[in-house]
């Protein structure tokens, strides 16, 4: 049961990462559409902007 769940998660992540083009579950058909991919790519880019590139020893925050 747990192994199957892990397999499913792995295949979903592979699909999201572009490793596989086969949709892991039929119930995730909506992930095939351009609306999903456009949103997903934008979320990834925004996450990169928000979480990477900090170069100072500590972030000086003016509270």
């Amino acid at each position: 049961m747990m192994l199957q769940l892990l397999e499913k998660i792995k295949s979903i992540l592979e699909y999201l990462g572009g490793v596989s083009e086969d949709l892991p579950l039929e119930s995730l058909r909506w992930m095939r559409g351009p609306l999903w991919w456009g949103t997903w790519w934008a979320v990834l880019i925004l996450s990169i902007v928000a979480f990477s590139g900090q170069s100072s020893k500590f972030i000086y925050i003016d509270f």
Partner: protein, 331 residues
């Protein structure tokens, strides 16, 4: 994935990023540098005493106390604190120009510590986060002139200027950092914070040893570069407008004074630094020992409210003594 899917998805991504860019720009419309510039804008036509500097000045210069002290001597004035935390002389030059453009400034108080007047570190585009981000939108031509960018940093600087999401990335990072700190504090004893964050973080800004501090003093003395180009620019701008400049060696924590300012190298550095300041037409005021009580500091660098009030009162008294009738302006 079909070609059509890729095209539509790409267009949607761009649309979402443009919307995010607008949102970040809107969220940053009240950023600290913009607030400071609005404070300057909202002052009357005459500013009698204008405080400029980094966070030492932002926390240490109390305009209400300065005004009260002047008023008590029968001379009402307008004092304004344009100090901005985590900034360098380049940002101070821009803020001073901003004030001088719109107001008649009688006296400019420039607060500094350590070798700040001579620090002329070449900037990289990646350094321009937090309050340094003002270099993207407030007189960017000065950043290009003084920052000594490499050509790659220059290209990055000009590119980042067009996008609020890049310009104000420090604001996003600050929010992420606050979230990280909130998550890290779950189940932990409460950490002390002040206006600028965790006090112990500011220990990182101190020199690692008295030897390092003395070496930096000696390096500057050897090179003879006591006043960095942005500081020289600031003094020239003020002198051209007939503004009296007083450079103040800001009160420092007793630990800092004992560890660094009592060193022979600093004594020699201070003497030459003062001469360089006075040669450029400014007065020099050593206030580094004015606040000997640790309790009047909120961390190793910044004065607390009571220390700021004491420093500002003493500063105002000195200004009154130095210019018995010159500083005030009738409104």
């Amino acid at each position: 994935m079909t070609r059509r899917t890729v095209l539509i998805a790409s267009a949607l991504s761009v649309l979402i990023l443009v919307a995010a860019n607008l949102l970040v720009g809107r969220a940053a419309s009240n950023s600290v540098p913009r607030q400071r510039m609005r404070t300057i804008d909202s002052a009357g036509p005459v500013i009698d005493v204008l405080g400029i500097g980094n966070s030492l000045m932002a926390t240490g210069f109390d305009p209400d106390t300065v005004e009260r002290t002047f008023r008590a001597s029968g001379r009402p004035i307008i004092a304004l604190n344009a100090g901005l935390g985590a900034t360098n002389p380049l940002e101070h030059l821009i803020l001073a120009r901003h004030a001088l453009r719109q107001h008649s400034v009688k006296q400019l108080i420039y607060g500094f510590f350590d070798q700040q007047l001579s620090d002329d570190v070449p900037l990289k585009n990646s350094d321009l986060i937090g309050n340094h981000a003002m270099l993207y939108y407030a007189e960017p031509q000065l950043a290009v002139r003084y920052a000594q960018f490499s050509w790659m940093d220059l290209v990055a600087f000009q590119t980042y200027r067009c996008c609020a999401m890049f310009q104000e990335r420090g604001n996003i990072w600050a929010k992420v950092e606050k979230m990280r700190r909130a998550m890290a504090s779950v189940g932990m004893p409460r950490q002390a914070t002040n206006q600028f964050g965790r006090p112990e973080d500011f220990d990182l800004l101190e020199f690692v040893s008295p030897e390092e501090f003395s070496k930096r003093c000696r390096d500057v003395m050897r090179a003879g570069t006591f006043l960095s180009p942005p500081i020289q620019g600031l003094f020239q701008e003020a002198n051209a407008k007939g503004v009296k400049i007083t450079v103040v060696e800001m009160p420092m924590h007793p630990w800092h004074v004992k560890t660094f300012y009592d060193l022979p190298a600093w004594e020699e550095f201070r003497r030459l630094n003062r001469q360089a300041v006075e040669r450029s037409g400014a007065a020099y005021l050593d206030a580094s020992h004015w606040i000997p009580e640790e309790t009047k500091f909120q961390d190793h660098i910044h004065l607390g409210p009571s220390g700021a009030a004491q420093f500002s009162r003493m500063l105002a008294e000195r200004l009154i003594q130095a210019a018995p009738s010159g500083v005030t302006a009738r409104r």
